[in-house]
């Protein structure tokens, strides 16, 4: 910064010292401290300005003005508390929030898939199943694989399936939810498929552990139930009676 630049800045320096901490002036003030000519110029500048300021501040103000301004309190209509901008803003905000909440609740509910849709998905997937992501008879390995893929893995097995050898597993994504599929080999019945998913996205998941059975036109029967936060569907090319024996 040179002397002219410092002078240019210092001409805006507040007369009452309110700019003392303003970084804009620090370099110029420092320069003035070490430059006698600049320091003398600044002192002269401030002396002139202080006098002009003092003269301007002594300019008389109409004596009646203050009284008129104070009297305005009585004559100027003040907005009613409910008309005040803060209240109006708050009221508008509240109504907006309520409306939005109602819309969100309605639209979320309307968009939430039904259990029947999930069951249909299970049937279609079972009918088209052509491979597994992991082929393993070791259920521990299967559960670990599902865990590694962030799919439900720590679920209990129906009594009729416990102890049966697994065939393998696969992981799906249905409407943004991870779905685990574990397949089991059942004597005389072939393979049955256990689908497990978080129930929270379903509008009408089965209320409890009592299974709800359904048959499909694809020859695949299903049994659906809920337990804890999960929904289960056991599917297979079997009939309802045979499914019941596995639950």
């Amino acid at each position: 910064m040179n002397r002219d630049e410092a002078k240019y800045l210092l001409r805006a320096y507040h007369l009452g010292g309110r700019d003392a901490e303003d970084p804009q002036f620090q370099e110029a003030l420092q320069l003035a401290k070490h430059d006698p000519e600049l320091e003398a110029w600044f002192a002269n500048e401030q002396a002139i300005d202080a006098r002009l300021s003092s003269k301007l501040l002594s300019m008389p103000v109409p004596s009646a003005l203050k009284g008129q301004l104070l009297a305005a309190r009585k004559t100027v209509p003040r907005p009613a508390w409910w008309q005040r901008r803060a209240w109006l803003s708050a009221a508008a905000c509240f109504v907006s929030v309520l409306t939005l909440a109602a819309w969100l609740m309605y639209s979320y509910s309307a968009r939430q898939p039904r259990f029947g849709e999930f069951r249909s998905y299970v049937v279609d997937t079972t009918a088209q199943l052509d491979h597994l992501d992991l082929v393993s008879t070791n259920l521990v390995e299967v559960r670990q694989w599902l865990a590694d893929h962030h799919a439900p893995n720590d679920f209990p097995l129906p009594p009729g399936i416990k102890g049966r050898p697994s065939v393998g597993c696969r992981e799906f994504n249905w409407k943004g939810q991870r779905v685990s599929l574990v397949c089991f080999k059942i004597d005389n019945l072939g393979t049955v498929h256990l689908f497990v998913m978080d129930r929270s996205i379903l509008r009408n998941a089965p209320p409890g552990a009592e299974p709800e059975f359904a048959a499909s036109n694809k020859g695949i029967a299903t049994a659906g139930w809920s337990s804890d936060q999960r929904v289960y569907v056991l599917a297979g090319k079997v009939d309802e009676r045979e499914l019941r024996r596995l639950l």
């Binding site: 240019y8 805006a12 009452g16 501040l57 109409p62 305005a72 309190r73 803060a86």
Partner: protein, 189 residues
């Protein structure tokens, strides 16, 4: 806004608001009306001001906006005779500043173009820093500095010229020629 607050705000700021208003309007009636309108707006909209430390800036900003609004819509304020800067003028000194009164300073300020006059008067009223002046007038900080620098030059030159002319009239003879050095390379905008 409670009564005590309002009374305090009137007491603290009405005088400098009036002086600023006068520097804009050029006459006492309009200056009074500008000041009153500013306080009316404080009564009706004061609840908007969340931070009480901002009241002063709010008042000056409001007054300036009322002024520009009136000027835009009603051609209300008389055109002020502007005087150009002369080329050779005596240097204005602190001692010369002692010789003038407040009315003379204001009268000379009124000869300046408004875009120099407004920041200069705000500066001399000491109510606001250059940053606050920028906010009130809604102009960049650099522009405030530029206009203060140029405005001060013009004001001092005018005051020096008036005092020089007064001196010639009172003594009846030509004063010693004084040279005025201007930094030709100084840019103002």
């Amino acid at each position: 806004m409670d009564e005590l607050d309002y009374e305090q705000i009137v007491a603290l700021h009405h005088a400098n608001l009036y002086r600023f208003a006068f520097s804009l309007a050029g006459n006492a009636d309009d200056a009074g009306e500008l000041t009153q309108e500013t306080y009316v707006r404080l009564l009706t909209k004061g609840s908007q001001i969340r931070d009480h430390a901002r009241v002063k800036t709010w008042l000056f900003t409001t007054l300036y906006r009322v002024f520009t609004g009136w000027k835009r819509h009603a051609n209300r304020f008389p055109h002020l005779e502007l005087v150009s800067v002369e080329d050779e003028l005596p240097v204005f000194s602190p001692e010369m500043a002692d010789e003038v009164d407040g009315e003379a300073v204001m009268d000379t300020a009124l000869e300046l173009e408004e875009h120099f006059r407004a920041p200069l008067v705000l500066y001399y009223l000491q109510s606001l820093t250059y940053r606050e002046i920028a906010e009130v007038l809604d102009i960049p900080i650099g522009t405030v500095m530029s206009r203060l620098s140029r405005g001060k030059d013009i004001l001092r030159q005018r005051m020096a010229s008036q005092q020089s002319a007064q001196s010639r009239r009172s003594t009846g003879c030509n004063p010693q020629q004084e040279t005025f050095t201007r930094n030709a390379e100084q840019s103002y905008e």
